[in-house]
Symmetry: C2
Subunit: 162 residues, 2 copies
């Protein structure tokens, strides 16, 4: 399979949105995607983009994407976070995921990031094996904590009288 | 105990750095802090700050801090990440941690974040209980993955010939 890894353009956002939805279904949360194609266009492009995105383009369409943004480690300084690395089901096993990850690591080095971080579901053994084989550490003793919009509103009502 | 929660100034960075080091010792990684006071000054202030920081100021010094920056969720859109919430040992139990967290949640709402995220060590039961009591979800099935600077260099040497 031939493909090119390149920075995403605004016109790729419908394809990127389809990949995001495909991953949400795989992760058993099909209704969790609130972001729209239009919002991806607004947030990812323009003078202060909130993320950078790379896509795998086969010439016939987009078969994979990696979405990243900067973070800040109080131990290591500027870091890069890989929010999503998605390859469409029919294109798996073709090396696209690996090529996208390499592009992300290259981008990290290029931007001076002292760390690349991401998150993985602890039952996703194929992904964990792949990441380990590439030298990444899986921090099994760290848990992710989240407060979503409803929780934010509820919190402020209860504890800040807002 | 009387204290004010306020945005950090450059002059607070030595105190903030001491708190970062204190937390690294608590988390059993005393040598992990590579960031310097000078780098915190450079990265947190100026035209494009890489983080925002809030401190608890007792008038006699800084007893706690919260350090945040934007993230991007492909499900929820713009989000806020709480990298560190640290209260110095002698000041614990005084409500400072809670006041700092409230300031962070307020900042999230103010900046339109659809989610606040952070990470917690799975053996840090007092912290987990506190976060849960405030409405946060602990995602026990998500693991954090990291590739540090050495891993980045090694990766690119092996897989990209750089």
């Amino acid at each position: 399979m031939n493909y090119t890894i390149r920075p995403a353009r605004e016109a790729d956002m419908p394809a990127v949105h389809r990949l995001i939805t495909e991953l949400a279904i795989y992760e058993k949360e099909p209704d969790a995607v609130e972001v729209t194609v239009e919002q991806l266009r607004e947030d990812g492009f323009g003078p202060n983009p909130k993320f950078q995105c790379f896509v795998a383009d086969s010439g016939m369409g987009v078969d994979g994407m990696a979405l990243v943004y900067p973070r800040y480690s109080t131990w290591k300084g500027p870091a890069l976070h890989l929010e999503d690395l998605i390859v469409t089901e029919p294109a798996r096993g073709s090396g696209i995921g690996s090529a996208l990850l390499t592009e992300v690591i290259r981008h990290a080095q290029h931007t001076g990031a002292g760390r690349v971080s991401w998150e993985v579901l602890d039952w996703n053994e194929p992904a964990i094996r792949f990441y380990k084989s590439r030298g990444a550490r899986i921090l099994r003793d760290w848990d992710v904590v989240q407060l979503d919009r409803e929780g934010i509103d509820q919190y402020l009502k209860t504890y800040a009288g807002i």
